[in-house]
Symmetry: C2
Subunit: 136 residues, 2 copies
C-alpha cells in the first residue's frame, strides 16, 4: 500500500496540507466517499478546497469518480497502475440500504460489443442492491 506522499510524488501533484489530509482519508476507507462525507469527516477543512482537491486528484488519475445514483458523486482512490482507461474498469456496488458504495475490483467486466461505429471512452457501471452487511 502506498502512502499519500508516495502517490502524490508518483502522480506529480504537489503535496499540500489539504491534499495530504484528503488523500490520507480516502486511503483509510475502503468505500467511495462523497464530497459531503469527506467534509464531515474532516472538520475545519473548507468544502471548496476539498472540492478543488478532488478535481485535481481526478485530473491526475489519483482518484476516480462514481455516479452511483445517490445524487452525490463519490470518489475512490484508483488502484495502483490504474489509468482510468476502459480497461481499468470495475463495477461499483451501491447498497440501497446503507448508502455505501464499494469498488468491486475482483469482478471482471466483460468486453462490451457496441453498435457499429460507436466508440467507447469510459463507463460507469453501478450495480445496486444490498451489501453483505445489510442483507441479513
Amino acid at each position: 500500500m502506498q502512502t499519500e506522499e508516495e502517490i502524490l510524488k508518483i502522480k506529480k501533484v504537489k503535496n499540500t496540507a489539504v491534499r495530504t489530509v484528503v488523500l490520507r482519508h480516502l486511503l483509510s476507507l475502503e468505500k467511495a466517499q462523497s464530497l459531503k462525507d469527506i467534509e464531515n469527516a474532516l472538520a475545519y477543512t473548507d468544502r471548496s478546497s476539498i472540492f478543488r482537491t478532488l478535481k485535481t486528484f481526478e485530473e491526475n488519475k489519483i482518484i476516480h469518480s462514481i455516479e452511483d445514483g445517490s445524487g452525490m458523486t463519490k470518489y475512490a482512490v484508483c488502484a495502483e497502475g490504474c489509468n482510468c482507461d476502459p480497461k481499468d474498469l470495475h463495477y461499483h456496488f451501491y447498497c440501497t440500504n446503507c448508502d455505501k458504495t464499494f469498488c468491486l475490483f475482483d469482478v471482471p467486466i466483460p468486453k462490451i460489443q457496441l453498435p457499429e461505429n460507436f466508440k467507447l471512452q469510459q463507463a460507469n457501471m453501478v450495480v445496486k442492491g444490498l451489501c453483505d452487511n445489510c442483507n441479513k
Copy 2:
C-alpha cells in the same frame, strides 16, 4: 407499438392531460430525455407537473431513469414486458459529444457474479463515448 392510452391502461395509471402528452412525447423519441428536455419540448406544461408525472411513471414501471453522468437524470420508456428487474437490464450509451443517451437493447448484459451475500436489485450501466453520428 403500444399507444400511450394502452400503456396507461395496462399499468393502471389514470389517464390525464399531462400524462398523455408526456408519454406520447417519450414514445415519439428514441433517446432518453431529461426533465428539461421534456419541459422545453412541451411548452406550456409546468415543470413540476412533468416532474411528478415522471415519478408516477417510474413507480409504475412505465419508464425507467438513467443516470448518465451528464448531471441530469434521463428517462426512457420501458420496453414492453419490462418489469425493471435486473433481468430487464440493458446498457445505456451516453455520447460525450452530443449529450444524447441511447438505450442499447440489443447488447446483452452478462450475469454479474457478486461477492458472497451481496444481493442484486438493479443496475445502472452507462457506457460513454462517441455515438455513430459524432464519431466521424
